[in-house]
Amino acid sequence: MAERALTGGRTDHAKRVAELYCELRDDLYRHLVANGIRPQVSQELTQEAFLRLHGALLEGGEIANPRGWVFTVAHNLAVNSRRRPEQDLPDHIDLAATAEGDNPEAVLLRSERMARIDRAFVRLSRQQRLCLSLRAEGFQYKQIAVMTGLGVSTVGEFLQRAIVKLREALHD
């Protein structure tokens, strides 16, 4: 559904947006929160993005990639809503509980690697974190460039620096 182009009559729009809302809202909301945006703001951004999707459809727009569209709008709104960039600094998280498996040694190792990535991720610049997280969401350079307002080559550079830092953290 999320990858299907959205077109159609006015009466269908609300239903389609509602379907998309159910399908994607948790994904988008968690993405924003995981990027360090406060839950209350993430909630408003998510709602706003879907309202705008509805508005765009009413205007006769065709949305080829609804998931990419709402992520883009939410990020654009986040840029505007941010009073100070440091507000978006994500917290360190304890991922030990997410490491599962039968082999305790492997679980420990995996847990340690996740912790290293977490420490490195939080130390990245806001733009690097953003590019990297959008990459992990499956968006391509061109899409990330549109979402972040950066040039495609800059997105590439941010991703490169971020990955190199993560790699260094894993091999320290």
């Binding site: 883009t72 040039g151 490169q160």
Partner: protein, 389 residues
């Protein structure tokens, strides 16, 4: 053109390749390189592993983030949507706001929402920064190479600020291949640097400090994406990159060929950047503007331009030596040479030849034809650079 360092693919290129972000002609070149380079394959594997581990981490980070509040559904978001799809009934402020959002659509002034999010008064000046650009839309494209944008011709005024700013940026090399733009506005001259790192920002600030009338902005304000249109992306080469590369390997050996590839691609990019900078100076400061320059300003412009010309000559000389060393690999085509469109056009044609013959880009043109184009372009460039003042 494939960016390489020391004959190897850089991390950016490898990451683009891993993510499927490269245009087909570049991807083909990267695949070709990887098939014969163990070091780059190993590096690609390291980067792939790091990306994979981050994806796992990101999934876990999202998973432990709190879910979207359940009450969203209870407060009736769907009802709001239904309201929006009905004819507007402006019975209260809230509904008016919602209808405003609905009608505003993609190009809406987002300060409406921004004000709600910020809990402050609308700030119309934020509109340009906030306009959503949905994926799939066609954003305006930038001029490809010049680092300083092609702004309007400089005004003929004493103490030309544009010239002084360009000269200041030139001293730290920020007028070539960097995202630094000069913009004239009602308030004067603005220098906008996009996505430069903190160290470079300090250098730019220091360089422009003696010019207090220049306004500085370090930001990411543009909702523009660079066009990544491949050149001849789907062309089936008459002789594919592998055949071209095999011939070079046979003639030079693979180590020398790799070293030469990296050098040629780098020098061609430098040459193009310098010629763009020279071209930009010509547009900004045409004769009628220069006529109003003081002797000092004329001298300053001449110095900047002469430096670009000297650097362009260095790059061209290296490219000449490279092409001389591969001249025996192909016979040159005696076809009709392309019309002479000036230094920049010749540098572009040369860059295309470098990209195909040494960078692994596919093309419909034969190596002999490209060798001829390179030879002609180099000769013309040599002549043009020698006569440049």
């Amino acid at each position: 053109m494939i960016k390489m360092g020391g004959g190897h693919l850089d991390d950016g290129m490898l990451l683009g390749h891993l993510g499927g972000d490269l245009p087909s002609w570049r991807a083909a070149g990267v695949r070709q390189h990887l098939s014969g380079c163990e070091r780059c394959r190993a590096r690609a594997e390291e980067l792939r592993t790091a990306l994979q581990e981050f994806s796992t981490y990101w999934g876990a980070r999202k998973a432990i983030s709190p879910s979207a509040p359940a009450e969203w559904e209870e407060i009736g978001f769907e009802m709001e949507l239904r309201e929006l799809s009905q004819p507007a009934r402006h019975s209260n402020g809230r509904r008016l706001w919602l209808v405003g959002i609905a009608l505003a659509a993609a190009a809406a002034p987002l300060w409406i929402a921004g004000s709600r999010l910020r809990g402050s008064a609308p700030q119309p000046e934020r509109i340009a920064h906030a306009a959503p650009v949905p994926p799939g839309s066609v954003p305006p494209t930038r001029t490809a190479s010049p680092s300083i944008n092609r702004s309007e011709t400089a005004k003929a005024e004493p103490g030309n600020l544009q010239l002084q700013a360009i000269a200041a940026l030139h001293r730290i090399g920020a007028d070539v291949s960097e995202p630094v733009e000069l913009r004239s506005s009602a308030k004067g001259l603005e220098v906008v640097a996009t996505a430069v790192d903190a160290a470079r920002e300090r250098e730019i600030r220091d360089a422009l400090a003696p010019l207090p009338a220049v306004q500085l902005r370090f930001t990411h304000p543009e909702r523009q994406a660079l066009a990544l249109e491949p050149r001849d992306a789907d062309a089936a080469g008459l002789e594919g990159p592998s055949i071209i590369r095999a011939k070079l390997d046979e003639a030079l050996g693979s180590a020398a060929r790799e070293e030469m590839e990296g050098r040629a691609l780098e020098q061609s990019a430098r040459l193009l950047a310098r010629l763009h900078a020279i071209d930009d100076l010509g547009r900004r400061f045409p004769p009628e503007v220069r006529a109003g320059f003081s002797a000092e300003e004329s001298n300053l412009l001449e110095q900047v331009r002469a430096d670009h010309i000297a650097k362009a000559k260095e790059s061209m000389a290296d490219l000449q030596s490279i092409f001389e060393s591969i001249a025996g690999v192909w016979s040159t085509d005696s076809g009709v040479p392309a019309p002479d469109g000036g230094a920049l056009d010749n540098a572009r044609r040369l860059d295309e030849a470098v990209g195909v013959l040494l960078g692994g880009a596919p093309t419909r043109r034969s190596p002999a034809e490209l060798m001829n184009a390179a030879k002609t372009s180099l000769a013309r460039l040599h002549r043009e650079l020698e006569t440049m003042r």
